[in-house]
Symmetry: C2
Amino acid sequence: METSPFVLGDDTLDVLFREARSVNAFSDEPVSAEQVREVFELVKLGPTMMNIQPMRLLLVEQGEGRDRLVPHMAEGNRTKAQTAPLVAVVAADTDFHTSMDVHFPHKPGIGDMFAGDDANRYEVARYNTALQTGYFIIGIRAAGLHAGPVGGFDAAGIDGEFFGGTTWRTQLVINIGHPGENPWFDRLPRISADDAVRTV
Amino acid sequence: METSPFVLGDDTLDVLFREARSVNAFSDEPVSAEQVREVFELVKLGPTMMNIQPMRLLLVEQGEGRDRLVPHMAEGNRTKAQTAPLVAVVAADTDFHTSMDVHFPHKPGIGDMFAGDDANRYEVARYNTALQTGYFIIGIRAAGLHAGPVGGFDAAGIDGEFFGGTTWRTQLVINIGHPGENPWFDRLPRISADDAVRTV
């Protein structure tokens, strides 16, 4: 018997990575905002640079909010976004630096280092939100839900629709639900470790 | 008894998020490059935009390679980087578009859309590498290892030292090992879902 290199069982790794797939068609089984808030409470524990944790979520339920979101999706993504039980708009808070005295209390005033350069601050918020989005997708799967991240949308349109007067900026849209009929394509080929991992 | 919102047990969630911490001091227990290659083989299954999977890893063992890396770390990060059993330099391959015919085979030639604009291609590589870095940190923990991501380093210096003549660009450095003495600080405060999650 081969020894696994993991401390978690195969069933767990299947749920998180091996059998998990980006879902394109959903069943009718509902997903509540509360479920995804619980996922957030878990994945917010993952590390970010200087604990800035800039990821924010707008959970868009079916109904009026969804009807406002869908027109900002690329045409090929509209049916999925309309029919998903719940949609999360992942945003980056570009004003993360104003709460660093709370989240990084041993370095009072450290947020000031980000105050002057808006472009750099956006870049830092975007990068760390992406890192947290990785945790979030894993957390969705840990809750037995399926994620369908989609990149085709008008970010400025979503910002205008939902985030006017705030410092939240749209980064990614993730449809959330349970698989319906023909929920996914064949798994696409992955790079080999021989090409992607080097050792010195 | 309260029902858990997760399909994975508390022990698993502890390993991945709740008790996992960024480690700053390591025990002597070794970590092999092969262990981290196995982590890569798992986490490469996570989703990226159009399956571009741009994350690359340079695994730096103790010895000559490590001695070349450490001077490019910020002074406060050198001891950790010197003593960690293994260090992973996470890089983004800015030439991901040249293999899209392999990884996204149902859309021949789609990589051409990224050929003209180097700045955009870098941005796409960086964003998706950050997403994969989130998966990677979770995968390290799933292998019973501990990750210490550090952002303080001279990226251009590391690129010049290790990635000359390649299209790999340094994004993050992650020390990997097992906790030693006083391995971590107190957990820093996290944002509340009331501030970070909204519903419409």
